[in-house]
């Protein structure tokens, strides 16, 4: 049995499969459920300064089993309310990473401090939501701004800071390098790809917000390319995200350079049992390919003699 434990961003994870932000993470009971189901760690919904209802429905469109388009609009109960949800997940012993979103560096730092006080083991900065005015991609597309935000947060907290960067830009690796310069402990890539669906009978976009973000199998090759380039550009760990439905997908990300991965859309299509299955299948796959430890596969596709 291959060892699935990985060290990433200063954290020791029991396996590489993290619950991606935005999935199941609004309530503490759900975070606890994902942990009990076998996730290596759970990332909260992105939390902001004040309660936010998100966009009106429809907020989601599905494509068979290959993709999911959403524009939830960053709904969240706000940082004042949210620590009680973290407490509930802590009672289950979960390894909890706190995701936050903000419009400027100072607010990112304040939110990260509150997350640290609430007891999360690391904070992930949402610099990449593709469909929220004033947040996400809008503050995370310029390397200088990414570096400034990361530096401000790193100065404010003791826990590791992870920058989740956007693929909706010409040079994601430059954003990762900026995060590294700012002192990030890791970068996660990618967030969803900006996307659109139209109902032809109604002659209008399906989502109330119009534009949304695409996730699922459809974006895996894009995520892999970003992780590949980032791995060659930075020395901090990379967390791979995008279309991980099977153990093979996860191993591709590890070989591209990721030390851990985030799983989201697969929970929608398969249920929370996906975490136990991915861990079991990855262990078997590593055995088959002769890797004693998941960590031994990290970056394995890069160096060819």
């Amino acid at each position: 049995m291959a060892d699935l434990g990985v060290r990433c961003a200063g954290l020791a994870l029991r396996n590489p499969f993290l619950l991606a932000s935005g999935v199941w993470g609004e309530s503490g009971d759900s975070l606890a459920g994902a942990w009990k189901a076998g996730a290596g760690g759970v990332i909260t919904k992105s939390i902001g300064a004040t309660p936010r209802p998100g966009y009106p429905n429809p907020t989601i469109e599905t494509y068979e089993r290959w993709g999911l388009l959403n524009a939830m609009g960053l709904p969240n109960p706000g940082i004042e309310e949210y620590p009680r949800e973290i407490e509930a997940a802590q009672r289950a012993g979960a390894t909890i990473l706190g995701s936050v979103f903000a419009g400027d560096a100072g607010e990112f730092a304040r939110l990260a401090c509150r997350m640290e006080e609430a007891g999360v083991v690391a904070v992930e900065l949402n610099l990449s939501c593709p469909h929220a005015e004033g947040f996400g991609t809008e503050v995370g597309s310029e390397p200088d701004e990414v570096e400034r935000i990361v530096r401000t947060v790193v100065a404010a907290v003791k826990i590791p800071v992870i920058a989740k960067i956007t693929p909706n830009t010409s040079d994601p690796a430059a954003l990762a390098a900026a995060a590294e310069h700012g002192g990030a402990a890791a970068v996660s890539a990618i967030n969803t790809l900006r996307a659109l669906a139209i109902d032809v009978r109604l002659r209008r976009p399906v989502l109330s917000h119009g534009l949304g973000g695409l996730s699922g199998s459809a974006i895996k090759p894009v995520g892999l390319a970003c992780v590949w380039q980032i791995y060659e550009s930075v020395s901090i760990p990379v967390i791979g995200v995008g279309g991980i439905m099977r153990a093979e997908d996860a191993l591709e990300y590890l070989m591209a350079g990721a030390r851990a991965v985030e799983v989201g859309t697969a929970v929608t299509f398969e249920g929370i049992g996906v975490f136990a299955r991915l861990a079991r299948d990855l262990s078997a796959l590593l055995d088959e390919l002769g890797f004693a430890r998941a960590e031994d596969a990290v970056g394995a596709a890069h160096a060819k003699p």
Partner: protein
């Protein structure tokens, strides 16, 4: 994926509820719900009040702005339908007590129709604020069920809550199951009332929903998601959830009291 349907019929059931019928061939089981998109407005989870055959239906009570506008929808209007989603009522019990409060009858009526079609017998405890608001009273009677009425203002049947009727009926008759839908405080009372009689209760719950796919967490209810683990829950399962009958989550995810 969604189906765009054209509303064929609009029926005012009571002063506060309206049924909209539309063609939808997709199979649906009693207890399931659909996401109903009013283009340009919003998309809401609605229990199917008509589940059999190719003409499905929803029965809308005004709960907020969108449901209010939904009531005004006329035949010919286009709606987007996703689903059906969620689980269903188990139709195997031989004799059930149906406890319906207000618009809760909307999901219980098609379930009992399906049950009666398999030989089920039933007593229906039907409650409303006042006599004209008793939803599907004639529809339940047409199934051959005995309907016992309670109204808050005493304008028909027992003057008081429908739980009074449920309590009395449970004390004097034998049932294999209790089905209930209505205000959650009412359903919690029904679960408590049935416990000493050792009759299993099945509650149809309602929560704010966004994805309806078990992903977004909007309908988180203790360890469950109402959209995929429900909406029909055994009473012994929900009675262990602290939120049952007391809290729900608003669209931001904040726990707020009913």
């Amino acid at each position: 994926m969604r189906t765009i349907v054209r509303v064929t019929d609009r029926v005012a059931e009571t002063p506060s509820t309206v049924t909209l019928r539309f063609p939808l061939e997709t199979h649906a089981d009693p207890g399931q719900f659909v996401m109903v998109w009013v283009p340009g407005d919003d998309e809401l989870p609605m229990s199917l009040s008509y589940t059999s055959g190719g003409s499905k239906g929803i029965t809308v009570k005004v709960m907020g702005d969108t449901s209010g506008r939904m009531q005004a929808i006329q035949p010919g209007t286009l709606l987007g339908i996703r689903g059906p989603y969620g689980n269903r009522f188990d139709l195997s019990p031989r004799r059930v007590l149906v406890v319906a409060g207000g618009s809760g009858a909307a999901v219980l009526a098609p379930a009992l129709e399906a049950g009666v079609g398999r030989g089920m017998a039933a007593v229906v405890a039907l409650g409303a604020t006042r006599a004209p608001e008793l939803l599907f009273k004639d529809r339940f009677r047409a199934m051959g069920a005995r309907v016992e009425v309670a109204t808050d203002d005493g304008s028909e049947g027992v003057h008081g809550f429908v739980t009074v009727v449920a309590e009395r009926t449970l004390a004097t008759e034998r049932f294999d199951a209790v089905w209930t839908c209505g205000p959650e405080v009412m359903m919690r009372k029904v679960v408590d009332l049935a416990r000493p009689h050792r009759v299993p209760v099945y509650c149809s719950l309602e929560r704010h929903m966004k994805c309806a796919l078990g992903m977004c967490d909007a309908c988180a209810f203790g360890p469950y998601h109402v959209c995929v683990d429900g909406p029909v829950f055994p009473g012994d399962r929900v009675s262990g959830v602290p939120d049952f009958g007391t809290f729900h989550r608003d669209p931001s995810g904040r726990r707020v009291p009913f």
